[in-house]
């Protein structure tokens, strides 16, 4: 049998299964967030895009920064898991090194995203 399945513990499928579940759970959160985001862009572009209106909205209520924090966290979970699959399937880049790169991308996205929310909300 042709196989490139790495030798690993019998419980390793749980890691893959968790990643899969996390990506689907974050996808469900993102589906709502993206819909809200698209509606907000639509509305904001109509009203004219200025720094004042963006900052004004972010300062109007704690709900907006909280929403964007949730959005950023979900995206930072969702994107690297997808990239990990693309790398394994299209670039032949898999295994532990790919997992580490994916984790690094997730952390970088989280940091950049939270920085952006902080910049607009403080």
């Amino acid at each position: 049998m042709r196989t490139d399945r790495p030798a690993r513990g019998s419980a390793h499928w749980r890691v893959d299964a968790w990643l899969w579940l996390l990506q689907r759970a974050s996808a469900a959160v993102l589906a709502v967030c993206v819909a809200v985001h698209l509606a907000t862009i639509f509305y904001a572009v109509h009203a004219g895009l200025t720094a004042q209106t963006i900052l004004g909205r972010m300062h109007a209520s704690i709900a907006w920064p909280a929403f964007y924090v949730l959005f950023v966290v979900a995206a930072a979970v969702h994107a690297p898991i997808g990239l990990r699959a693309v790398a394994a399937e299209w670039l032949g880049f898999g295994g532990r090194r790919a997992d580490l790169v994916a984790a690094a991308i997730g952390i970088a996205l989280l940091a950049l995203g939270l920085r952006a929310v902080w910049a607009l909300a403080r």
Binding site: M1, T3, W13, D16, A17, A88, E89
Partner: protein
């Protein structure tokens, strides 16, 4: 399908004056031949009413080139041995009518994708069936002959899940159609996972925990991206995509169960 076939084949000929030829009386057939790196070889085959792709290959072997290698057994869609790539799409050839897949009278036949070729149109199916074994595709009994027969209500959820996926003939069309099999060589593939799903729904089976561990993960059900090529191409109209999704849900549930 049957009506269209009949019209393009027998019926239309009856309606025409005796002197008028068929739109095209010959099929232009190009077949993959192995040896010396492989090449495509061209044959001309007379058209016939209700002609199947397997009929075409058989005619070539009997009349033009006896060395052409292909595989078949039952000729009626039960044994699952005659699958090939027909004009770019994996199909069972015994029940694929030429009129349906080659309206322009041109056929390109290749062996199934994703499997090593033995010769011409014959693939080595070992890997395909080894993966059934790796997916623990065999029933593990929990009762003995002294026990009374198990009672499985036909309307139960498990029984309905198993019924929907049980009619697989192991032809390998789904396996050859699946991009994930091509991209992840360790991936068990739609047929083996579909088989595992039927057994995961067999309440009499004694290996359901071990089987779930064998079919979960990135070499198993979690690699599937629901492209649904398997479901699109399955000649038995099964939906391996649905079976694999069922395995994903089972695995998700088991993540929250202590004893699994």
């Amino acid at each position: 399908m049957t009506a269209g076939t009949a019209q393009a084949g027998g019926l239309s000929r009856e309606r025409r004056p005796e002197t008028a030829p068929l739109p095209s009386s010959q099929l232009d057939v190009v077949i993959w031949r192995s040896g010396a790196g492989g090449r495509l070889e061209r044959f001309s085959v007379p058209r016939a009413p209700s002609q199947t792709v397997l009929d075409v290959v058989t005619w070539i072997q009997r009349h033009l080139d006896a060395t052409l290698a292909y595989r078949f057994a039952c000729r009626v869609g039960m044994c699952g041995s005659c699958a090939m790539t027909v004009n770019g799409v994996a199909r069972w050839t015994c029940r694929t009518h030429v009129d349906r897949v080659a309206p322009a009278g041109r056929l390109e036949l290749r062996p199934l994708a994703n499997l090593p070729v033995i010769r011409d149109l014959v693939c080595d199916m070992r890997e395909f069936f080894d993966k059934w074994t790796a997916a623990k595709g065999a029933f593990v009994p929990t009762a003995t002959r002294r026990d009374p027969p198990a009672r499985v209500p036909p309307a139960s959820r498990e029984r309905r899940h198993a019924d929907a996926a049980i009619e697989c003939i192991g032809c390998g069309v789904c396996y050859a159609s699946c991009d994930i099999v091509a991209w992840r060589p360790a991936y068990l593939g739609p047929a083996a996972l579909n088989r595992a799903w039927t057994l995961e729904n067999d309440v009499r089976d004694g290996a359901r925990v071990a089987r779930l561990a064998a079919v979960a993960g990135d070499a198993g059900c979690h690699a599937c991206h629901s492209q649904a090529s398997c479901t699109e191409r399955c000649p038995k109209h099964l939906a391996p995509t649905a079976s694999i999704a069922g395995l994903k849900r089972l695995a998700s549930r088991s993540l929250f169960e202590r004893d699994r």
